[in-house]
């Protein structure tokens, strides 16, 4: 079973997306605090859904950090944001893909399926 980590500062989004993904058969972890991702040592997820604007954290910074680290650079990261214009800078930070909020379930599931099986 593939493991997915959701990082978003809105707990409702974390909860709803967790429900969505669990229904598809994924194992899902959530965090509202981006800082915890920095401390990730073991139990790496197979895919990370990363919100860009989290309170106190810029998702792009986290993405750059993870992609630079040997132990985490293989993890596919899909960046999520309410702002569509930010896609370019998200990809520049190293994101594998981008999703704008609010997203269609089909779109989310499709992208997740695409990257988690790489």
């Amino acid at each position: 079973m593939k493991k997915i980590l959701i990082a978003d500062d809105d707990p409702a989004i974390c909860d709803a997306v967790k429900m969505m993904l669990e229904m598809e058969g994924y194992q899902v972890g959530t965090t509202v605090d981006g800082a915890t991702i920095y401390r990730m040592e073991s139990e790496m997820p197979d895919l990370l859904l990363l919100d860009i604007w989290m309170s106190g954290q810029d998702g792009r910074e986290i993405c750059k950090y993870l992609k630079a680290r040997e132990s985490t650079k293989h993890i596919p990261i899909i960046m999520v944001s309410a702002s569509r214009d930010i896609e370019k800078s998200a990809r520049e930070a190293g994101a594998d893909d981008f999703l704008s909020k609010p997203f269609k379930m089909a779109d989310l599931l499709g992208k997740v399926a695409l990257y988690v099986n790489r």
Binding site: D10, A12, I13, D15, A16, V17, M19, M20, M23, W53, A82, S83, R84, D85, E87, K88, K101, P102, F103, K104, M105
Partner: protein, 627 residues
């Protein structure tokens, strides 16, 4: 006339002396026989008539001279021959016309005195005519008459009131304009002191002032005064006075009086107007500038210096102003000026300056351009105000809306996620009915998302922050995709798609999709009673063309331009508006324009509308901010 007494002493004098006196005398003298024949004339005579007496001696007869007859002088001469002393009035003699005289030149004005010489018995033995050449005097008289006539003409025809008065103020001469101005007749003024035109209580002071002015060293001057005519009408007049000097002494004063009542009133109105304008400009914090496009001179009012925070003593040129413009706004400003000078657009830019102190201010200026007869620009006159505050507020507002829409999207995201999950759950458990409800909820959430998106887009457009991407995609695929999606939202309409462009297009796929969604959903919204909506796409030279045709309410001609404006909402035939923010077409128009395309509508009220847009196959999307 020799008297008896004189003649006695004279008779003692030698006759030779008389002959000498006769010939040396400076007065032209001619002696005739009683029958009129000229027998002698002196040197002065010869000089006057420029002929030798010997040439006519014995031949010329004064009584038969036709010229004298013509001048009606003959009677005078005859009287002298009859025994009278006669003063002959001056006439113009033209000697060459006289019968016996040849070769003499020119004409003379000559007056004469003719008297008989009688012997002791009273018999006329000779007649003497003495002539005086009065040509010069006559010419002088003529000149005097001419100049008097000239003076009279100038004097009486003058529009300006004129009066000549003596040392005491007595009126020596006055023209009709003066009489009209003060309401007195010539007779009432001539010979009287001019002070009578003033009310009695003022006369003493007026005469005093007059005397002082007359005695003063000043040779002339101008002053204004308020006068009341005889009829009670009040005037403001301007008097120019100067002096007539004869033989080095002032003999009279010439006053020229002009009615400036109207001029004064006009000046007063102009001054009031000017004060009002200055006040308005100050209250509105508006500075005025004036640019002569030919000489390049630039004039700023004090306020403009303030607005630019430039010291007031600095000379202003166009070049200096340009150095103040913010580099990011330079291109826009240059284009605006160029377009205005070509009379292509109204000049009304909002731009930033960097003051000499280094602060950034937002200014708005609007101007009109003056053109010469050949249509070339000669002058630009404008007004500038500071809009930094407004801009900040606008930016704050736009920032707020961006944040707000961002915030709105957050709960919508989870709502949508829950709704979609539930729909899935119901479908999987076989509860189609509940699944349908959730599907409808989902559709509404999509609509909400769309509204929030429109609001955000409109704000971005205002702030010049609408960004576009470049995607390469198959145009027809997008058209079909959007049409299918929207067909699912209505079962009353049939969306007929004829996508025939067969082109790959370089544009922002999502945004163009947004435009298509907007046009098609409008078609659905505004044709509630009709069935077909036709969507076509085709390719033309370097462009793809899309049309969305409905048979709905249509748009009246007067409103067809307006539909693309921000906030514009169409009203139905019964006057109420259709739901929506009024932003869809505004945003669509902006998106198409940013791609370098065009969007327009043709419509007949009651029959339907066709919205069409063109898109260059290789969209020209300028990057970066624009205002």
């Amino acid at each position: 006339m020799p008297t008896t007494k004189v003649s006695r002493s004279l008779s003692e004098i030698d006759s030779n002396s008389f002959i000498t006196i006769f010939s040396q005398s400076p007065i032209s003298t001619q002696i005739f026989t009683p029958k009129g024949v000229s027998v002698a004339a002196n040197r002065a005579w010869e000089k006057l008539w420029k002929i030798k007496h010997d040439d006519i001696k014995g031949k010329y007869n004064v009584l038969t001279d036709p010229q004298l007859k013509a001048h009606k002088i003959a009677p005078y001469i005859r009287r002298a021959f009859k025994g009278e002393v006669v003063e002959v009035p001056s006439i113009k003699y033209e000697p060459q016309k006289t019968v016996a005289v040849k070769g003499a030149v020119a004409y003379r004005w000559v007056s004469a005195i003719a008297y008989p010489i009688k012997n002791n018995e009273g018999k006329i033995i000779n007649v003497v005519i003495q002539h005086e050449d009065v040509t010069e005097r006559k010419a002088a008289e003529d000149r005097l008459t001419e100049s008097k006539d000239l003076f009279d003409t100038i004097w009486s025809a003058a529009l300006d009131a004129k009066v000549i008065s003596d040392r005491e103020g007595k009126v020596l001469e006055v023209n009709s304009a003066y009489c009209r101005l003060y309401g007195y007749s010539r007779e009432e003024l001539l010979g009287k002191n001019f002070a009578i035109i003033f009310p009695p209580q003022k006369r003493r002071m007026v005469r005093e002032n007059y005397r002082k002015t007359f005695e003063s060293k000043r040779e002339g001057g101008i002053f204004e005064s308020k006068v009341t005519s005889k009829t009670g009408k009040e005037y403001i007049v301007e008097s120019h006075y100067s002096f007539i000097v004869q033989h080095g002494k002032r003999t009279a004063m010439l006053s020229v009086v002009r009615d400036i009542t109207e001029r004064k009133q006009s000046l007063k109105l102009i001054e009031e107007e000017r004060a009002r304008l200055t006040l308005a400009l100050e209250a509105g914090n508006i500075g005025v500038w004036d640019w002569n496009t030919k000489t390049n001179e630039l004039m700023w009012t004090e306020k403009v210096y303030e607005l630019h925070q430039v010291p007031k003593d600095r000379p202003i040129t166009l070049e200096y102003f340009i150095t103040l413009i913010h580099p990011d706004d330079m291109v826009m400003m240059q284009e605006s000026i160029a377009k205005a000078l070509r009379n292509e657009a109204v000049f009304c830019p909002t731009f930033r300056i960097i003051t000499p102190q280094g602060t950034v201010r937002w200014l708005n200026t609007r101007a009109i351009v003056f053109f010469d007869a050949k249509g070339r620009p000669v002058r630009m006159l404008g007004a500038t105000s500071d809009v930094t505050e407004q801009k900040r507020l606008e930016e704050d507002k736009n920032d707020f809306i961006s944040i707000a829409t961002h915030e709105l999207k957050t709960p919508v995201t989870s709502l949508k996620a829950y709704a979609e999950v539930l729909e899935q759950k119901f479908r999987r458990s076989g509860d189609e009915e509940s699944a349908q409800h959730l599907a409808k909820m989902n559709a509404q959430l999509d609509r909400l998302t769309s509204l929030i998106g429109d609001l955000l887009d409109a704000t971005k457009i205002e702030g010049g922050k609408l960004q576009m991407q470049r995607d390469l995609f198959a145009f027809d695929d997008l058209v079909s995709e959007i049409s299918e999606e929207l067909q699912r939202t209505t079962d009353r309409h049939e969306l007929i798609v004829r996508d025939d462009s067969r082109k790959k297009v370089l544009a922002d796929r999502e945004r163009i999709g947004q435009v298509l969604t907007n046009l098609i959903s409008n078609a659905i919204k505004y044709s509630p009673h009709s069935k077909k909506i036709v969507i076509t796409s085709k390719a033309t030279l370097g462009e793809v063309l899309v049309s969305v045709r409905d048979s709905g309410v249509g748009i009246p001609k007067a409103k067809q331009e307006k539909v693309f404006e921000r906030f514009y909402r169409v009203s139905g035939p019964d006057g109420n508006t259709y739901p929506g923010l009024g932003l869809g077409l505004y945003i669509s128009s902006e998106i198409i324009k940013r791609h370098g395309g065009r969007i327009w509508v043709t419509s007949t009220p009651g029959k339907g509308s066709t919205f069409i847009f063109s898109l260059p196959v290789k969209a020209r999307i300028p990057q970066g901010n624009n205002h």
